[in-house]
Structure formats: C-alpha cells, structure tokens
Symmetry: C2
Subunit: 351 residues, 2 copies
C-alpha cells in the first residue's frame, strides 16, 4: 500500500493536499508570532467536530475525564513555540514521495497556552512499569491501507518534562478548529507530528505504542524495507522574507538597486541558534541575530545587501549551539522528511 | 507575457500558489459561517503591512482621509456573504491555465461588518459626471508583465447600493492580515476579485477605470485575442460535505452501508437557490433545502442516501430562481474562470 516516489510535475492529489494544508506565506516571517490563519497546517484526515471531553487512562491509579472548561481552570503555562512539519521541503527532493508537497513554508511560531501534561499524569497517578504515554486524536481515516485515528506516543521521561503542554489557546485565543480545538498536545522542539490535535484520550502504557504513525510513518529511511530512524527534534533550519515585489505566477522577486535589509528567522529543536549566514550568488557573509524570543521560538536575523542590477540568488544558512549546520543541499529521504537544505530565492535587481 | 494553457500534471509554480492560497477544506461545509482561518484565500502578490489610512478622492467635492478607528465609529451593517474565487474549478478544466490550481474549494461564507461605501461617497460629495468608483489595495506586484497595485472598479450605480461595504470585521473580529486588514471592500454576490483587500484609496472617476485587473484579467474568453466578457456575479454552484472517512493521499471516501445524510451548501450571486439535486451514480433526486441564511449567503441542503456496498459517484447540482442551473460539465474558459460544473466525489461503501 506504499506509494512509489516520482519525478517531475505534481499530481492532482498533491495539489488537493496543498490546497487543504497550507503553508505560511513567507512575508509572514515579519511577524514573531504567526497569526492563526497564517500558521501552517498539516491535517491527515478531516478536521473533526470538537471533542467534548479528554480521557486519561491506561496504567494509572485514578483514571478520569476532563472537559476543556475544567482544564482552563487549572494552572497554565504559555510558551512561544516554533513548529515545523517533518515533511517540510519534501517537494525540493527528487524523486519525491507522493504526499503533501511542501516546498519550504511548513513552519510557523505561535504562543501556546495550556496545562503541563505532567500535571494531568500526576493527577491520574502512574502505575509502576509505565514506559510510554500515548495520545489519540479524534481525526480518523486511512493511510498506508490502515484505518486508524491519528495517534502518537512519548517516552515517560519526555512526557514528564514541564514544557509539554495540553494546550487550549493559540496566540491568546481558543484553538481554531484546524489547530486541534478544543485541546491539543504541544511538544516543543519536535517536528509537528508529535503535537497531536483534537485530543480525546491519553493512555499510560507498559509497552511501546505500536500505532502506524509512531512505528511506521515519520521515520527517516532510504528504502521501504528499512525499519528506519524516527523523526524527533526539528533540525536546524532558516528562511528569509522575500525582498521587493513578486511576480504573481513565478513568485520571482523584483527590486530596485541599493542597500536592502534582508531579514528572516532561524530555528533548531536541538540547541539555540548561534549563527546565520546570508549567501549572495554563492558568497557567504554573517547575518546579525536578534535576541531569542524564547527557548523554543525561532530567532530573527538580518543582513544588509548592496543590491546591484542583474539576476541574483539569495540563500540563508543557520548553525546551532550543538554545531549543527544546514547542508547546502538537503539529504534525500524516501518519504521526504527532515529536508533542511538552505533556502534559495531568485531575485531580479532592476537596472 | 501571457502563459500558455497546459494539460496533465501540475507545475511547481502551481503547487507554490496552492500552498499560499488555500481553499476551504470541504468538511468545513458543516459550518454556516466559515471560521477565519478556513476561509479560502486568493492573494495576488504579498500580504502587505496594514495601511494606516484610507483616502477618498478623485472627482469629489470634499476629499478626505479616514483611519480604521474613525471608520469603526460610524454606523455599520453586518451581512453574511458567500465569496467565491472567479478561478474556482480552474484545475478541473483541460487544457488548464497556469495560475492558482483550484479544484473546487475556493468558496466560503463569513459575516462581514463595515460601513456602506455609499456613506463614504456621500461624505466626500460626488461631482457631476462620475461614472465609476475605483478601489486600490496596498498589495503590489507584477502580473502579465505589468507592475501594479491590485485595483478594481464598480459602476457608480453599483457602488451606491447599500450592501457594498467597506468592512473592518469578519465573523465579529478585526480583519486578519490575509483578509485585507484593516479595511477591505465587500461586494456581495460578485466573485471575490471585486472585494478589494488592504484598501488604501477610493477614487471617483469620470472615465471607465483602465487597470489591468479590470480590463484584461478576470474576463471570460476562449482565445487570448478576444476582448472577452467581464467576470461579475457568482454563477450558481454547490458542494457537498464528504461522507465517511478519507484516505490521506487520494482523499477517496470510505463509509459503512446504511442510510447516510448527505449535506452540503449551494449558492448563486444572481438569485436565491430554489433546488438542489443529489446524484448517485448518475441518478438524480431532489434534496431538501434549509432556510436561507441571508440574501447573499449559501443555502444548506440535505438528502438521505441508502448506501449499498460498492463503488459510487456522488454529485450535486443546484438551480436558482432566475432559472440558472449548474451544467454537468463546466464550460471551458481560457484562463479558467466561472467553472460551476457539478461537484463529483468517489466513495467506497464497505461490504
């Protein structure tokens, strides 16, 4: 039931997915927090009607259900978190896996407010021997020939970290339908698939969770026969805000000669951003970093460019404190995960 | 500078446009008012920073500028309005014009609140001889080789109708950036291109407006050499909410046998909806209509279907009070405007 990678133009199915699961328009990089309707979306099945209740169960002493109103009455935390789809950049690879054809826009940052997952697990009381916590959404469908509700798990140690939230608000407003209303998980630093939306059930497990989206999907592999390596933390990456004005169809940029401030944002789920370079026609120079907006949020950067008439290629490349640096070209992956090759943009400077 | 129509798979440029300009996921048809982040988008250039002021000028007695706060203090109207992109359905046609590759999801309904345009025109005082009112957005770019800010016009008589609004709120909240913040035009009953976003200037003209988006784009034509016929009112059209659950990639639907309520919405910019038919494998039967939600808003419909095991094709077809009825197949148009052929969906009923 797996689909075969392909080359060249895009299928109708890919276009239908792109029309549903939109990216963040790159001009929205000017906002430190992405407005709700501009935050990227990846919805596997349909947006479900809002679940009325979240159940906590499995290997716990005191299973319970909780309504969104009850959750909102509990002590909360707010965190600015950059989320990125694990498949971001998939459509830059060739051959390309038939799925959501992200070019580079599957990333955004929002302020999420919710109750630490740990608070709910302590309320339920974990039994001895719990190894993982599994999270089930209300969204149900078929993938790889298997019918299932979208579900993922975290190790017990990860689930007990104070910054993993059961969130009920985004940028200060209740979650919109498409972002998991009324309750979703937010797992800072990890690719978006970990942040399960439309949460209906949290289960404490004595054995590793064996759901399709955990053990088969969201793995790096070069060949379908490999077990693969799970997608976890967001790889170091960066984008730039397009300068000048666009051509409607090609999105190529046109601007006047002179000094231009090129701005953008960089992020890594592994360590703070320590450097960004701006590339102009293959020549790299350091950009200046803004103060970080939070441990899990992207870092703004800017660099002056003396634009002279002609055709140019701009590029940006980030490095994090763990020594991870974006590759010039993304590594090929069978299902198109984790492509963090440098972002390139063609611009025309008028004479 | 015009692009050549093409057949078959989609270009990278079309995919990039689809990732920016998302449609309304069809499951959102369950909502009479589309939530802001799910309302379809067609943004020609970039989302601009919010303009601070709207100027009224041209052939008027008392030109003036007004801020969004000043506008919000004036008497307002609220209207539920269905907007549809003139290019909706473009990607169902072959050959297909290279542009935003809408399949069928470029339609939505919102409650818009604003000041009647007429109030502002009366405040400015129109001079004798005014024939058209032109509207300029802050969004600037290149299309068809021509650099311009997006701009459109209305006839004087149309501009003076009480339901043409300069809107500042959508579903009770300030306009989001992508829907024209802080002020946009809303022209009920017309395809979306008339509802100019990010309004910066309204000009009274003694001659017809000659902007590219008015006199060249947004025309029905079969051949590039034709002058063509302008796109104006929304043609009668309808969609259905997909039953059952989807396959992630193909979006094909799977459901259990038995009686299923098929629901959807129908709309026309020319007259009220008077009939919707549900087609099952080519056999048509009448659906029941809900009470209309307003003069300019879509009408809900539902029909029971006794689903038996096997593969089926569902379709829906609306008729309005002016006698307009959706064609079984959309008329071909060079740039892909006005396709209102019936919506079809493949479903699998399990045995």
């Amino acid at each position: 039931m797996r689909r075969a990678p392909m080359v060249g133009r895009f299928t109708r199915e890919e276009v239908a997915l792109a029309s549903r699961n939109h990216g963040m328009p790159l001009e929205a990089l000017r906002e430190a927090l992405t407005p709700a309707g501009l935050h990227y979306l990846l919805i596997h099945f349909d947006i479900p009607p809002p679940p009325q209740r979240l159940e906590l169960g499995g290997r716990v002493e005191r299973p319970f259900g909780i309504t969104p109103d009850e959750l909102r009455a509990m002590p909360s935390r707010s965190l600015a978190v950059t989320l990125e789809c694990a498949g971001n950049g998939r459509a830059q690879l060739s051959p390309r896996y038939p799925s959501m054809p992200w070019l580079e826009e599957g990333v955004s940052t929002a302020q999420w407010t919710g109750v630490p997952l740990r608070t709910l697990l302590e309320k339920a009381g974990l039994q001895a021997g719990v190894r993982e916590i599994a999270f089930f959404g209300a969204d149900r469908g078929i993938d790889g020939g298997v019918e299932h509700a979208f579900a993922r798990s975290l190790s017990l140690a990860h689930a007990m970290e104070e910054d993993v939230l059961v969130a009920y608000a985004m940028n200060g407003s209740p979650l919109p339908p498409q972002h998991g209303a009324p309750l979703r998980l937010v797992v800072p630093g990890w690719y978006g698939m970990a942040s399960v939306k439309w949460l209906v059930s949290i289960q404490a497990l004595a054995e590793p969770f064996d759901g399709l989206q955990q053990v088969r999907s969201y793995h790096f592999r070069k060949d379908a026969a490999e077990a693969g390596t799970p997608c976890t933390r967001i790889r170091v990456n960066s984008l730039m805000q397009p300068p000048g004005i666009p051509d409607f169809y090609s999105r190529n940029r046109v601007l006047a000669p002179g000094t231009v401030q090129i701005t953008g944002r960089a992020w890594s789920g592994e360590a703070p951003i320590v450097a960004v370079e701006l590339g102009v026609d293959g020549q790299w120079s350091p950009a200046q970093l803004d103060a970080p907006a939070g441990r899990y949020a992207w870092t703004g950067w800017h660099a002056a460019w003396d634009a002279v008439a002609g055709e140019h290629e701009l590029a940006c490349r980030a490095t994090d404190a763990a020594g991870n640096r974006q590759p010039l070209e993304g590594d090929w992956d069978l299902t198109g995960f984790g492509n963090h090759g440098v972002h390139r943009m063609r611009v025309t400077v008028r004479g």
